[in-house]
């Protein structure tokens, strides 16, 4: 980082924790960046002359006489079209061996969109995955996380979704990615020939956790450049937000803040909301859609991280291993896209919403039949048909390895319904039955 004339330098630390240092300094601005023996840090608290800095890469080896220089500005990112196709670290520096970006320097973590200036999201984001498009349709400007167990293939699903979505730019914000995941994303983007529309900001598990705190702001600053300045449709992938929240709790803990539920900082809701609410449909056509991953601890959604997330995001997508079909499926009961009604039947075929409801209800009947079976009750003919239906429905529609158009999903649903049920059993409106029922 270039040394500037007005930089103020100090060499006497008063206190050091694993994530923060405190020193006496004057004229320091809130949120300002500094370096501590060359490590990037940010002002998080001032009290009289005592200034506390969070040191992004951790304080290992930082001595009490470390050199602290203040930079006079909050974190920034250089933005221009040169961002496309590039990989950066949490500080916005290239990690792909390429040159630094030339462009306008913008503050990250900037202001919010005036809610009155927003437009209602209305464009379908097709993913090819029927568990999403058919039952939990995504809309541009939406924010939605995958709630997944750490051993589920959520990064793979996310990469699939990103590459199939009809968007102008994809911004990856990777937090605590394993090196393998990082290389997987890189390989997936490269082999899809899609590199030119992708920008990646990556923090891996090999790097210090506090650095992750910069990733969402960096990714979203890049997203805003393309969505606001260029009116592009931008999809932002944030994985894994649980690791982001963990980093928040590390810093607040080192600052001796009183933790609230699950050792998370009391500001967790606002901290997450600032990120997710960057999702927007802008008046001039640009949009930011956020798909995130929140890994769960043993499927526990009452933990503070998924719980707070659920109150902010517009639904959630649950992945689940389905023993009957042997597939990983998008769980139709626990997943929800709250914006789906803005596009179903409007941007998709008229029978969409009815098919979704019928499909899920019959799948629920199959669950009941399964419970009966497990408890040793006799199964009716309807129960047996439900069980067969469920297997086929899970394999051909709910499974994450499905990749078909929405039209094909609807046709598949009609086909499966006709195979196992009578029109009356599906409860679908007669007009649609008359028009679409597959007669053999």
């Amino acid at each position: 980082m270039a040394t500037k004339a007005y930089q103020r330098t100090y060499t006497q630390l008063q206190a050091i924790t694993k994530a923060t240092v405190t020193l006496n300094a004057r004229g320091v601005a809130n949120d300002e960046l500094a370096t501590v023996n060359g490590k990037l840090a940010q002002v998080v608290k001032t009290k009289g002359d005592a200034v506390t800095l969070q040191v992004f890469s951790g304080t290992e080896g930082v001595p009490t006489n470390a050199e602290v220089s203040f930079q006079g500005a909050p974190p920034t990112l250089r933005v221009s079209d040169q961002l496309s196709g590039r990989f950066f670290n949490a500080y916005g520096h290239p990690i792909d061996g390429g040159p630094e970006i030339e462009g306008e320097e913008r503050e990250v973590g900037g202001p919010s969109v005036n809610p009155y200036k927003r437009r209602q999201p209305s464009e379908l984001i097709p993913t090819g995955i029927a568990g999403i498009d058919l039952n939990n349709t995504l809309v541009s400007g939406q924010k939605i996380p995958f709630f997944a167990d750490p051993d589920q293939p959520y990064n793979r699903v996310m990469a699939d979704v990103a590459l199939r979505a009809d968007v102008d730019k994809i911004i990856l914000g990777g937090m605590g990615l394993t090196n393998d995941d990082y290389l997987f994303f890189r390989h997936a983007f490269e082999s899809a020939g899609a590199l030119d529309k992708i920008v990646s900001f990556v923090n891996t598990t090999e790097e210090p956790p506090v650095e992750r705190l910069l990733i969402p702001d960096m990714a979203l600053a890049a997203a805003e450049y393309f969505a606001v300045d260029k009116n592009e449709k931008v999809l932002v992938l944030l994985t894994d937000m649980t690791l982001y929240a963990d980093a928040l709790s590390i810093v607040s803990n080192r600052m001796d803040q009183i933790p609230s539920k699950d050792s998370m900082p009391g500001s967790l809701y606002s901290d997450l909301a600032k990120i997710y609410e960057k999702a927007v449909q802008l008046p001039d056509g640009g949009s930011i859609t956020i798909i995130a991953v929140t890994t769960l601890n043993d499927g526990d959604i009452t933990h503070a991280i998924p719980d707070n997330t659920g109150y902010i995001t517009e639904g959630q997508l649950f992945l689940r291993a389905d023993p009957d079909s042997g597939k990983v499926i998008v769980d139709p009961f626990r997943s929800l896209s709250r914006l789906k009604q803005l596009v179903q039947g409007k941007k998709t075929r008229e029978d969409h919403a009815q098919l979704m409801n019928a499909g899920v209800r019959l799948y629920a009947d199959a669950q009941n039949a399964k419970t009966k079976l497990e408890n040793g009750f006799d199964l009716s003919d309807y129960d047996l048909r439900c069980l067969d239906y469920a297997k086929e429905y899970a394999t051909r529609l709910l499974s994450i390895d499905v990749n078909i158009t929405v039209e094909q999903m609807l046709d598949t649903a009609w086909e499966i319904f006709a195979k196992y049920f009578s029109p009356a059993e599906t409860g679908i409106k007669q007009v649609f039955v008359d028009k679409y029922w597959k007669k053999d």
């Binding site: 009290k47 009391g266 809701y269 609410e277």
Partner: protein
């Protein structure tokens, strides 16, 4: 001379100011930073140090920045033109702000000062009047909007003159009152009132007697709510609280509806902006927006203004109640408000109560609920504020007097309502998030 101060400490939006004179709890101040004036509110005073919560981002703020105290608390501006208004938590008009992004330090006038209102006098010269007595009225949409003796006027006044029927702007004098010392005081259509103080300019608050029809059959038949009653809708995320609240806003039998989006999703507010101007009020046949005021502090807007938003909304309701109107206040959600209180309490390093919430939380909430109610005005007419809040977990926010066991409630207490929604969309058997329109 007003009190001044200097910033001496900053943690996020909590700023410590060393002051040179008297300051009051809840007094407002402006902090100057880089040519902007940031509004803040005193929340604690210790010796010559005031802790203030800043209603804006504190990025770039420095120790030593100057602060000017305003000698007043946070106020709302009350007058014709509030209906169909779209405001932030501090009652800035969001529709007249420039730019797509909210600008720090931009404050806009809640009322249009240029509109001419057709005024009809109601009081006569010589009448004895007290605060909240009606001097005249204007038509706001279809509603008779009473121009009242300002709530802050203490004691009895004699009407010296009232403007003749005609068109006036809100700032023109429409009456002159003489106080008991013989001093003449001009009155316009606009008055101000501190949001955290309940408006008590009425004769008494009797027990509610009438039912407020919500238009939602299951509520009106089994668990009706009283006009002037309070209710709340608890439930986990995605269980349908907001959908129910919007339904009540559309169908509810009220003259005035104030919707406070307190720390909620921006896209949900956009839904109201988009739908309400098109939808028709089933009771009057007018457009729904004409009877609706929206107070919008979405989750990414400054956390201190989130707390203010519910008070701003309540004060506007109390204003219309004093005109003899039936008002309905819908707050989504009170748990976000509680989280805002927790964040501040946390930053002030107060000893925490349960789940790190401030210990006086339930007292604050109870106080707020107590501002609702049916009132008997000085002129014998009645007005009502019905309040329905909603909250996610944890169920901290029921007012004190509320029985702990929800099942003990229905029917027993006409002025209290609890609408517990099970997590329907999570139960197998009911499709996740069925389109509400289809359930009809």
């Amino acid at each position: 001379m007003s009190t001044h101060g200097k910033v001496t400490g900053i943690v996020s939006n909590l700023v410590t100011v060393t002051v040179d004179g008297p300051v009051a709890e809840n007094e407002l101040c402006y902090i100057s930073v880089g040519g902007n004036q940031l509004l803040a509110e005193v929340i604690r005073v210790t010796g010559d140090k005031a802790s203030v919560q800043v209603f804006e981002s504190t990025r770039g703020l420095k120790n030593g920045d100057s602060v000017e105290f305003l000698g007043k608390m946070l106020e709302v501006t009350l007058g014709p033109g509030l209906l169909s208004g779209i405001y932030d938590g501090l009652q800035n008009n969001l529709t007249t702000m420039t730019g797509v992004f909210l600008k720090r330090g931009e404050y806009t006038d809640p009322l249009d000062r240029k509109v001419l209102w057709a005024f009809t006098p109601l009081a006569q010269p010589g009448d004895k009047v007290i605060a909240a007595d009606w001097l005249g009225e204007v038509k706001e949409g279809w509603l008779p909007h009473k121009i009242m003796v300002p709530f802050s006027f203490k004691g009895e006044f004699t009407v010296k003159s009232v403007a003749p029927a005609g068109n006036y702007t809100v700032d023109e004098t429409i009456a002159v009152l003489t106080d008991k010392d013989g001093e003449d005081i001009p009155v316009t259509m606009v008055q101000k009132w501190p949001v955290k103080v309940a408006v008590k300019c009425y004769k008494e608050k009797p027990r509610p007697t009438r039912i407020m029809e919500t238009g939602v059959r299951v509520i009106d038949t089994f668990n009706p709510i009283a006009e002037g009653g309070t209710g709340f809708i608890p439930g986990p995320f995605g269980c349908g609280k907001t959908v129910l609240q919007h339904a009540i806003a559309k169908q509810g039998d009220a003259d005035v509806i104030v919707m406070a989006a307190c720390g909620e999703r921006a896209n949900e507010v956009v839904e109201i902006f988009t739908e309400f101007p098109e939808l028709v009020d089933p009771h009057t046949g007018r457009k729904l927006m004409e009877r609706t005021t929206i107070i919008c502090n979405t989750s990414n807007m400054p956390v201190a203004a989130r707390e203010a938003s519910v008070y701003t909304a309540m004060t506007i309701c109390e204003y219309y109640r004093a005109m003899g109107l039936k008002c309905l206040l819908l707050a989504d959600s009170t748990s976000r408000w509680a989280q805002a209180l927790r964040e501040m309490s946390n930053r002030m390093e107060e000893l925490p109560g349960q789940d790190a919430f401030p210990v006086d939380l339930s007292a604050i909430i109870s106080n707020f609920y107590a501002r609702a109610g049916m009132v008997l005005l000085n002129n014998g007419q009645t007005g009502a504020v019905t309040f329905i809040g909603q909250e996610g977990r944890p169920l901290l926010l029921r007012p004190r007097a509320e029985p702990r066991r929800p099942e003990a409630l229905p029917g027993r207490q006409p002025d209290r309502l609890l609408l517990q929604i099970p997590r329907v969309s999570r139960d197998p058997g009911i499709p996740a998030g069925k389109d509400p329109e289809e359930l009809g």
